[in-house]
Amino acid sequence: MEFIIITLIKLAVIAFVLLTALAYIQWVERKVIAHVQVRMGPSRVGPHGLLQPLADVVKLITKEGVMPPHANKFFYLAAPILAVFMALISISVIPFGTEFTVLGHRVMMQLTDLNVGVLFILAVSSMGVYGIALAGWASNNKYSLLGGLRSSAQMISYELPMSLALAAPLLIAGTLSLRGIVDSQAGYNLGFIPKWAIFTGPFPQIFSFIIFMIAAFAETNRIPFDLPEAENELVAGFHVEYSSMSFAAFFMAEYSNMVTVCSVATLLFLGGWHPLWPESMGSNFAAPLILAGAGAICLYHGLNPARPFDRFTLPAFAVIFFGLAGLMAFPPLVPVLTPLFWFLAKLSFLLFVFIWIRATLPRFRYDQLMSFAWKFLFPAALLNLLVTGFLVALVS
Amino acid sequence: MAEAMQSINLQAGVPISWYLVLSAVLFSLGVAGFLFRKSIITVFMCIELMLNAVNLSFVAFANQHKQVSGHIFTFFVMVVAAAEAAVGLAIILTVFKNRETLNIDEINSLKN
């Protein structure tokens, strides 16, 4: 019974945080891309456009859901639900931090620790293609059908290099449980180089990390691999007919998939919640210092406002940051929050890379995309796996 | 069935034979699909359904004997099924290209 209650509480917390975060990642994306392109980005709704996601949600809910003629109603409606369901479900096995005890109950920062966690994520992500393919087919539109076809071919193709790239660090970790994989990356070489998979082991997994990230771009249909929704060829690809909440569902699925693959990359390659440098060198102080620094910057700009309302908003942010810094520095919370901070920091960095690339790179041509997967990425991943396996066997 | 239910201790777990019955039912449904469906793709899917049913009984037997061999069998069946799907679908593509039909009753050149 206790188990069920704790799980339900975790479920509620994670669902709330995740869904909010998904909305705000979009805000971050728009802001970052705007600044890359020397624009302002959303700035009308709320201070710095911070309420923009809320406004978007209201807009999408209140819009009319259009049903295209001759569409297969059941599949047309089921597809977005399937997509978002498959995208969200894989979060359930991802651990965010270490175990802690609250009110005498041991709580894991994770919904469930499956001992085939990695396989579970692979399985669920491979199911994600149904949503897109079905949406493309059920819309009864040739553009969306092409988008659906492209996405199913693309996702099957890129799943191979992705799985092979995943397999290499698994060989080193010797377990399929995500928590076990993170635990295997604890510690430091030479006292300061973290034993993350990309830095250490018999064969540093930097190549497989790069391959994984490239494949992850394709799996999440992000630029430069967003062929299924290439707007200049296919209008908007598989979701051209969708509107209202079903359109929002696809958006949510895309961002949720991004979070999932970035989390997996963090856990498998970047040491999960293990800090970048050892505790003995003061990694515990990094979080409060960074947050306090952010607060200080906000405070400074608040005192020297560029726009009139900055005088009010920026000091408010500063207070929030200082409060967070205080939380991070509060000794009883340090063992709980510091790993969480590191995990979120790495995750945010990878998400930033996703956005950064979207702002930077053009789109591939479809045949280039496929031949890149089969002729370069797949052999490279295979080679990497072979070398890793050989070296692991040699060392053990 | 009711008597069987009573004789089974609910705490002891699900009897293996129930899994086998489930497997048999799924298999028969696959056979039914094979016999009564006319789309060649659906017929092919029914073959996959039969394979899955058989896999289920393999795994059930593995549980019964507490041996991993049944799992290995299932694993091989999966691999073969994947290969079979690739070749089979390629054949279907070719057939469709040549005859412009997916109706299995019209693909009968083996006659005479």
Binding site: F75, N115, V116, L122, S126, M127, Y130, A133, L134, L149, S152, I156, L176 | L10, A12, G13, V14, P15, I16, S17, Y19, L20, L22, L26, S28, A32, L35, F36, K38, S39, I41, T42, F44, M45, E48, L49, N52, N55, L56, V59, A62, N63, Q67, V68, H71, I72, M78, V79, A81, A82, A83, A85, A86, V87, L89, A90, T94, L102, N103, D105
Partner: protein, 166 residues
Amino acid sequence: MDFLFFFLFAFIAVACAVSVVVQKHPIASALSLVGVMASIAVLYLQLGAEFLAMAQIIVYAGAVMVLFIFVIMLLNAGAESRSGRSYAAQLMGPPLLVALMASLGFAIMRGFPGGGTVKFDSFQGGTAQNIGYALFTDYLLPFEVTSVLILVAILGAIVLARKEMD
């Protein structure tokens, strides 16, 4: 708990399987088949075959069935026509099916009157480690042969589907 679990997913599996057979449209059949496979995967978990459960989803649901759907979409296969010409199947099919099911059920009930029982965690030999160990020691030769089979299948598929679709 175990019974509830079994009945729930057995019911889903059978329902989806019936749906596979009776749905008129191939896409619907394919998705129902995915449902069968997913529920069988869950039953695998109960039977202690966690690796196979995941492999089932990845291989069958994630790859094979996607391929099916891909082909269905590519050929734009519609609902099937009614023109059937197999009198043998129509006449003998139903009674044969009943006979098949009856004889299978009879054989199972006769052959496994007691049998064992299945609970969660009653068998823990299905981890990836166990499977891998068995695969690369006792079953190494079949494994290699299978890899050759796959190679041949790849080549066959490429050769068959090579010419451009008109």
